[in-house]
Amino acid sequence: MDLRFTDAEIAFRQEVRDFIAKELPVATRERMLAGKSPTKQMVVDWQRKLNARGWAAPEWPKEAGGPGWTLAQRYIFREELQQAPAPSPLGFNINMCGPVIIEFGTEEQKKRFLPRMLNLDDWWCQGFSEPGAGSDLAGLKTRAVREGDHYVVNGQKTWTTLAQHADWIFLLVRTDPNAKKQEGISFLLCDMKTPGITVRPIITIEGGHEVNEVFFDDVKVPVENLVGQENRGWDCAKFLLGNERFGQARVGASRERIRRLKVIAQESLDGGRPLMEDPEFRRKVTEIEVELKALEMTVMRVIATETKRKDKKPDPATSVLKIKGTEIQQLCSELLMKAAGPYAWVDGDPDEEGGGNDVDVAPDWALGLAGVYFNWRKQSIYGGSNEIQRNIMAKAFLGL
């Protein structure tokens, strides 16, 4: 066992850091520092820069267009992006749909979709959840009926993140209504421009537009857009959800939030002194830092065992990462809001430049922090809720 990074890995970290310092637009960084999501254009521009450098898909194998990195390199790379903070490669493309196509897709599908995913020529979105199928994803009802060389899709997806930006959607659909529920599901790729698709915004509690309802009314999907075998889509889904859980650890992102918190706590006064000088506050932050360090080590252990696994079943240890990662992120967002005190009350529209401070009623660093706290309650709900993760653990680890 040796948990230290090698000299080569340390040099690699520096290389990534230098690249980010040179290439990341200031506006993107500042927006992310303020806790806001980068705009569509920011994400696209950044991903293209990464792609030009060959770094758009850290986990992909070389033959699929990835950099062919070791696990340590992937980890370092993601951590540096999160800490910068810079946009991560678009998860729907790089961590969700891409790997499914690499694993289960045909050669044609790989050729057709992967390069465009890497360069973000196509923005993908995830059409899994439905009004009646959240935690019980396999209960989904959206129907796909094969008619000649097409599937005809009817039904509704919901909570579809950034569908308003998307060119393509990957879908779980029911192709055999008579089979056991996991056995009648297929994984389809669908062009968002196909007639019969309607996208309706859902506004979240802090006022942002990041999720949508997507309706399908006799939408024709060519059969060549089926990934894997018909009625075996659940294998793709499980594979994908394991990757999604893994991505929720976001150690670098939490570290960045803690850094930000410490900056804000220098500016924000409490009892006439910087909040950072309050021992109680420092203790709280330190507790989180310790949890984060432990999570970091746990992430590395999970990565290390991942390489030795033969089957493609998701590792139940990723549930640990999902639970702990989201709890830490939520705590960070709460402490940031609290650090801003009553300034955090100003209702800054998260989608607006300047975040609604046109009347200058709060310091800029305080704006939108309550909004992020409200919004981040989603983290323990999506990607398989934290209760569902505990169910998975109870079954897989505890045999209960």
Partner: protein, 381 residues
């Protein structure tokens, strides 16, 4: 010991509940929020008709002679509907200053107007640097002939944009963080020396940033050389009302969650059948009942005469209410799943109000520190 309400109190509670059931559905609330002032004048005049605006004032001054328990009951009902009207600012805070710090003449001039819904008040207290310290005041009050002239900048003045008159803390002597030398002044919101910039707060209410440039004070409330005890007293009374509001909001968030657990089906059965969720909902109930107990303690302590005992009691209230509000608020979202993350669903709005309620006049952390510093509640044997 008696926790029962009197017949009159029960009537008061019922009449407010009835009005809000009628006028404060979720869709109605949304429409009020969109109005230019961010709340409803029509509802306000109905508050006046019901006597809610004159509630805490003496009957011979035009009020209804209500006490802290009456205030608590109304606040709880308003919390259940997460109302947007300036009741807390005008009646509880403004009313508190008038009852405890105004001359009889001033009261007789103002109370009937407040009770009739014709006069709105807001409390301009906090400043950029002050956070939760009521005594941290840089705004100044200078003697100006027979009156006072106010200069400085106040932040997050709740309902400051629609108020007719502002109650302002300002320094008549001493340094920025001195306990002595703070006065409380009444300023006409339309005074040429007053500039207001209104904005919406994250819980859908309204607030303003207010700048005073040699604004003329119309009256002094309490002792201009040492008004802090008055401020403390009014804030303590307000904390009792905030406790009521929080309990009302928590009750609804909790009820909504339990109802949803009974109807939402996943895996072929109601999610309420999962024991993990049952336990969480039971813990929410524990938090809610602990908070409710504290709201009674708050109402009882609001009339405590010893200022230190009262402060201590209210700090205790703030801590429990804040902790309960956080847990109930967060878990009400969690147990609903995605649906409660949406603007279209009421639960998130309760969560947001509970979050802001905790921070008003100091959050739970602030008061834990205060209590710990003064040695806690229980003496060593």
């Amino acid at each position: 010991m008696d926790f029962d309400l009197s017949e009159e109190q029960r009537l008061l509670q019922d009449s407010v509940a009835k009005l809000l059931a009628d006028k404060y559905g979720f869709e109605q609330r949304k429409a009020y929020m969109k109005a230019p002032e961010g709340w409803s004048r029509e509802v306000w005049s109905q508050f006046a008709e019901l006597g809610l605006l004159g509630l805490p004032f003496a009957e011979d001054e035009g009020g209804f002679g209500g006490g802290a328990v009456d205030t608590l009951l109304v606040a709880e009902q308003l919390g259940r509907a997460i109302t947007l009207e300036p009741w807390l600012s005008t009646v509880v805070i403004g009313g508190g200053f008038l009852r405890n710090g105004a001359s009889a003449e001033l009261r007789s001039a103002m109370v009937p107007k407040i009770a009739a819904g014709e006069l709105l008040l807001a409390f301009a207290q906090a400043e950029r640097q002050s956070r939760y310290d009521l005594f941290d005041v840089a705004t100044t009050a200078k003697k100006d002939g027979s009156g006072w002239s106010i200069t400085g900048r106040k932040g997050y003045v709740v309902h400051g944009d629609s108020a007719d008159a502002l109650i302002v803390t300002a320094r008549t002597a001493g340094g920025q963080r001195d306990q002595r030398g703070i006065g409380v002044f009444l300023v006409d919101a339309k005074d040429p020396g007053v500039q207001r910039r209104g904005y919406r707060t994250v819980d859908g209410q309204r607030a303003a940033e207010v700048e005073f440039a040699n604004a003329r004070a119309e009256a002094v409330l309490g002792n201009p050389e040492h008004g802090l005890p008055l401020v403390d007293q009014v804030v303590d009374e307000t904390i009792a009302a905030l406790a009521g509001e929080a309990v009302g909001a928590m009750q609804v968030a909790h009820d909504m969650t339990v109802d949803y657990m009974k109807t939402r089906q996943q895996f072929g059965r109601p999610i309420g059948s999962f024991q993990a969720l049952q336990h969480r909902a039971a813990d929410m109930l524990v938090a809610l009942e602990q908070a409710r107990s504290m709201s009674y303690f708050a109402a009882m302590s609001a009339e405590e005469r010893d200022p230190l005992e009262r402060r201590k009691a209210m700090a205790t209230v703030k801590v429990q209410i804040g902790r309960s509000a956080r847990f109930v608020g967060q878990q009400s979202i969690q147990l609903h799943g995605g649906i409660a993350m949406t603007m279209e669903y009421a639960c998130g709005h309760y969560f947001k109000r509970l979050t802001v309620n905790d921070a008003m006049f100091g959050d739970a952390d602030h008061y834990v520190r205060y209590l710990a510093d003064i040695g806690g509640l229980v003496q060593a044997a």
